[in-house]
């Protein structure tokens, strides 16, 4: 008798537990993969009549199926569509008017914002993105020279099947060449909240096929191989994917105020301590018509000292570069101890000169502190109130910033010593 009641009780318990499980929220959250359309990239643009235009790239999963059959691999692996609406969030609904599947933003790799929109301020987009459960804070954020719609529509990765992989791999190249910074939504928002330094974002653009005056002008003016004055959309080239990733968009608060070129971006990353490695080209100090290529990486974090001196605040930053020769066109024996030191010093001066120019540009163009020196100034202050009321931009503009570059070329590459090749005329 007792056992029977016990058994009944147990059954009741089990049934209750099963009910609990089945009513759990988990059930409602399940989505089959074929119910969803995975959004890989989103672009925000300002359209005419105060409208918003949102462009999305959706992965076509059918193209990823390996089991042959009908239309499997032949189908395009992604599809880009755009919709206009008074609100950017309204477009989400409109997409489903022609799209059969629920949009899923969990694999959105990149948010691209058009130049025009960025100049109006992008905070409203980013806070929405970081609020939304599905979107990822570590998605990349890029500012497009021109319209984001054009970028997404014309971005046709050649080597990869989908823009998702393209973005992942392109960001890897940033670590090798350092011509554009990788910014994520989270990083950007963090930069915004830092109060004083200016956030930056990577610059992307679409290659223009027709001859651009600006590009022509840049080509004519550029003589120093250390300079890389191009930015996205203006790289002199032929062929390949139209999308370009080079340069930096500089923000003041959440509004875009300017653009840095490739080499300026590299210098910025160097001073920020975020440069992984890059190939530097410079004119041979001894032979004007020859170049030298050096592959360098940031050996250590930069050392930044803030000094209060009689004539005002001074910031002294030391950056360390280490690397190896890639090319010495002139055949000069730079591998020797003394010659190498001379070259290193000449190169360091060049880098310091570039850095000075960039700092001067930020002050001149009123960009503010893009190097995040305010982090080091923070320890000078005692309270949050002081920090909040600090007019860092003014201080930055007046501060003398000294950059010291220490270069150490450690390896000559496979050629240990360059000797001149005997030529017929010389005999």
């Amino acid at each position: 008798m007792k056992d029977k009641t016990k058994g009944v009780k147990l059954c009741v318990k089990i049934v209750c537990l099963l009910c609990l499980i089945s009513t759990s929220v988990g059930c409602l959250g399940a989505r089959e993969t074929d119910q969803l359309a995975f959004v890989l990239a989103i672009g925000f643009d300002k359209a005419e009549n105060n409208q918003q235009e949102v462009t999305i790239t959706i992965a076509n999963t059918l193209a990823f199926s390996s089991t042959g059959g009908s239309g499997g691999q032949n189908a395009a692996s992604y599809e880009t569509v755009s919709v206009k609406a008074p609100s950017a969030w309204e477009t989400g609904n409109l997409f489903n008017s022609f799209n059969s599947r629920e949009l899923a933003y969990m694999h959105t790799k990149v948010f691209v914002i058009g130049e025009e929109t960025a100049k109006d301020g992008i905070e409203k987009y980013l806070t929405a993105v970081s609020r939304f459960r599905e979107a990822r804070g570590n998605s990349s954020l890029y500012i497009c020279k021109g319209k984001a719609k054009d970028f997404l529509m014309n971005n046709k990765p050649v080597l990869e099947t989908s823009p998702a992989k393209q973005i992942e791999l392109v960001e890897n190249t940033s670590k090798i060449i350092g011509y554009f910074p990788v910014t994520t939504v989270n990083n950007f928002l963090k930069g915004l909240k830092d109060l004083h330094s200016s956030p930056v974002a990577g610059l992307v653009g679409i290659h223009k096929t027709d001859k651009d005056e600006q590009v022509e002008k840049l080509l004519r003016e550029t003589t120093d191989p250390l300079q890389e004055p191009y930015y996205a959309g203006a790289v002199p080239r032929t062929g390949g994917n139209k999308a370009e990733f080079i340069g930096t968009a500089v923000f003041k608060d959440d509004k875009m105020v300017g653009v840095l070129s490739g080499s300026e971006t590299r210098t910025m990353l160097l001073l920020q301590g975020k440069l992984t490695s890059s190939m530097y080209n410079m004119t041979d100090p001894k032979h004007d018509n020859f170049n030298i290529a050096i592959n360098l990486r940031q050996a250590r974090k930069p050392e930044i000292r803030i000094k209060h001196e009689a004539d005002g605040l001074k910031i002294e930053e030391t950056v360390f570069l280490e690397g190896e020769f890639v090319a010495i066109e002139s055949g000069e024996n730079y591998e020797g101890i003394e010659t190498k030191r001379q070259l290193e010093q000449a190169f360091s001066r060049e880098v310091e000169k570039q850095a000075k120019e960039l700092i001067a540009k930020t002050k001149e163009q009123n960009y503010g502190d893009i190097f995040q020196y305010d982090r080091y100034y923070r320890k000078e202050l005692a309270t949050w109130e002081e920090w909040k009321n600090l007019n860092w931009k003014e201080i930055y503009d007046q501060t003398e910033i000294n950059i010291i570059c220490k270069t150490n070329i450690r390896r000559p590459g496979f050629l240990r010593q360059t000797l001149p090749i005997l030529r017929a005329e010389e005999k």
Binding site: G26, T33, L36, F64, S65, S66, H107
Partner: protein, 637 residues
């Protein structure tokens, strides 16, 4: 009425003189059972004893066995009685007895055996005879044997009648079981000596049964029994019983011999390195295999009979100076307490002695490897072997024991550790993978790299079922392949695997019933579950896997974690013969640390602490004597 009769008989009994050697010496109180027995015996006594000689009467009367034991502790009771009975029957039959014997007996019993009686009629004897005891009348015995074995209906038991070639010739018959006994042994060690060689010394010196046992039968194990129970037990196990006319005892000659499998390779627990022999169905061969590994007088084999009908031997083997006595007591208590009709295999025995039949984890480890049993016995565990079962049970067991193989120990520590880590991975994969796959695909798509997700989604694009159904279809068909592969007749068996893999895998994918990624998942899961070495553990993981599939599909990772939580509690609360199932990890007990990793052999200093063995040490701190010496030398120099 009956009461008064009994009372009167008892009273009469007290007045009647009866020289009863049984009641000489000290007298113990009668137990109620004995009293009942005595009562039962009385009528026989009174009928016969009316005019007959008291001593003769005493001899003819069936003895209450227990009493005789109690009363005459210093005498070999069976022999004594047999002598008396023998003389009695001989005299009754009025057969010429050999001179010597006759003389001896006549001297001894001259005054008592004055008048001879007529031989009793068959039916009379049968009436008087205690059916449990061997009768001096050959015919009675034969009748009794035929009754016990239902001869001639029962064709397995054969009665061979013959005459023993002594002077004078004595009739006898042999009973043996066809199939369990060795025919050559019977011919050469039973019939040949009795019918031919007994002729070498035809005069019987002493008692006939003695003579036959000591001088005629040349078998290595010959026992004398006077109870049918023992004789029948012997015959059932292949011995040959020889009944001799005039002897109220029978000879049991060991002639066991049946068709059995020899010692063969281990089929289900293969190792690359190590002994390649497995237990077979013969208990004695199995215990021998273990003894071959542990050649110690300390290794004890206790025998317990199990099964009211089957009478199977269960051997309990342990090292008596190591094993925890409480554990031994518990093992014996459980086995001895079994009241079952029959146990056919150690698998059934296992279910009778485990403590939580409804817990999914196996609590007794079965193995077919003698080296493994020996290894565990050395560590202080107990092996239980059932006759006729090629698997030995090792108790207590922990989950980690079940995840180990002998290869781990036989190979060098690094290799063994590698194997164990692989198996640890396999252990988790074998029950978690399908559940985690479902959780990821349904709930946590952001967890996998984009390209992988797109590949999964692309593969699933043409599949018309929800992923849960898809997984269940595949899992069930995999279980079908497994079960069918096991059950189909040998010749077809090999093809089933191929057919299953090819047809189900390839065709299902081509028909868009399942996605290719799922095939990989199911295949990896299946492989992993085969990598779990203990079959019962494999089984438990296979079942748990389905629970995780449903949890993963219903609740995602929350469900998986929930399942792990419950499973962990189920396992950690489990005990196998008093030892926590997850020892020595939970609870953490002192051990050689030989659980997840495999320490080198010279670090196995202690026996597992959770066994509470009598001897804690397995080997001294420095097991390799040579290391000590060489290091000493180093220090001096």
């Amino acid at each position: 009425m009956v009461m008064t009769m009994n009372w009167w008989k008892e009273l009469k009994q007290t007045f009647t003189y009866k020289p009863n050697s049984d009641r000489e010496g000290f007298v113990l109180e009668e137990t109620p059972e004995e009293r009942a027995m005595v009562k039962k015996d009385r009528p026989v006594e009174t009928d016969q004893a009316g005019d007959a000689n008291a001593a003769e009467e005493e001899a003819a009367k069936p003895q209450p066995k227990m009493r005789s034991r109690l009363k005459r502790p210093e005498k070999i009771t069976g022999r004594e009685r047999s002598e008396q009975k023998q003389t009695k029957t001989e005299e009754e039959k009025k057969e010429p007895v050999s001179a010597k014997e006759d003389q001896k007996f006549s001297q001894k019993q001259k005054n008592s055996t004055t008048d001879l009686r007529k031989p009793l009629k068959m039916y009379q004897v049968q009436e008087d005879q205690d059916p449990e005891q061997v009768s001096p009348y050959l015919e009675v015995n034969q009748k009794r044997i035929e009754e016990i074995y239902d001869i001639p209906n029962n064709k397995d038991f054969i009665i061979r009648e013959f005459t023993i070639a002594v002077v004078p010739p004595v009739k006898a018959f042999a009973v043996f079981m066809e199939g369990m006994s060795d025919k050559t042994s019977i011919n050469t060690y039973v019939l040949q000596p009795l019918m031919l060689f007994s002729n070498f010394q035809p005069t019987v010196d002493g008692y006939l049964i003695d003579h036959i046992e000591k001088r005629v039968l040349i078998g290595n194990q010959v026992n004398v029994h006077d109870e049918f129970e023992q004789i029948v037990a012997g015959v059932n196990f292949g011995s040959t019983a020889v009944f001799v006319e005039g002897c109220d005892q029978a000879l049991l000659v060991e002639t066991k011999g049946w068709e059995h499998r020899g010692i063969f390779y281990p089929v289900n627990e293969q190792v690359i390195r190590g002994p390649q022999e497995a237990f077979s169905e013969t208990l004695r061969a199995n215990t021998g295999l273990i003894r071959k590994q542990i050649r110690s007088a300390k290794l004890t084999t206790e025998m317990v009979k199990v099964g009211e009908t089957t009478h199977r031997d269960v051997a309990i083997m342990y090292l008596r100076d190591v094993v925890n006595p409480k554990l031994l007591k518990e093992v014996k208590r459980r086995i001895e307490s079994l009241q079952v009709d029959g146990i056919v295999d150690s698998g059934i025995l296992e279910q009778y002695i485990e403590e939580r039949p409804w817990n999914i984890a196996p609590q007794v480890m079965a193995t077919e490897r003698p080296d493994r049993v020996a290894f565990h016995i050395l560590r202080g565990k107990i092996a239980i072997l059932l006759d006729g079962s090629p698997y030995a049970l090792v108790v207590p067991t922990t989950m980690f024991d079940q995840l180990h193989t002998m290869d781990d120990y036989f190979l060098r520590p690094l290799y063994g550790t590698f194997l164990r880590l692989i198996r640890t991975v396999a252990f988790y994969i074998s029950f978690l993978t399908p559940g985690i796959y479902l959780a990821i695909v349904l709930f946590h798509k952001e967890m996998v790299p984009t390209e992988l997700l797109l590949a999964i989604a692309g593969a699933r694009e043409k599949v018309p079922f929800p992923s849960l159904v898809e997984v269940i279809i595949m899992e069930v068909s995999f279980e079908l392949i497994r079960e069918a592969g096991l059950r189909v007749p040998g010749a077809v068996g090999n093809t089933i695997g191929i057919v299953g893999a090819l047809i189900l895998g390839q065709a299902a994918v081509q028909a868009n019933i399942v996605s290719p990624i799922l095939i990989i998942i199911v295949a990896v899961t299946g492989l992993s579950s085969f990598a779990v070495p203990y079959y019962s553990l494999q089984f438990s993981l296979r079942i748990i896997r389905f629970a995780y599939i449903f949890l993963g599909a219903a609740l995602g990772f929350v469900g998986i974690i929930f399942g792990l939580f419950v499973q962990m509690h189920m396992l950690s609360s489990l005990k196998s013969f008093g030892v926590p199932y997850l020892a020595p990890m939970s609870p953490t007990t002192d051990s050689t640390g030989d659980v997840l990793l495999r320490k080198p052999v010279f670090s196995w200093e202690k026996r597992p602490d959770f066994l509470n063995t009598q001897q804690e040490r397995f080997q001294p701190n420095i097991a390799r004597g040579w290391v000590k010496e060489s290091s000493k030398r180093k220090r001096k120099s």
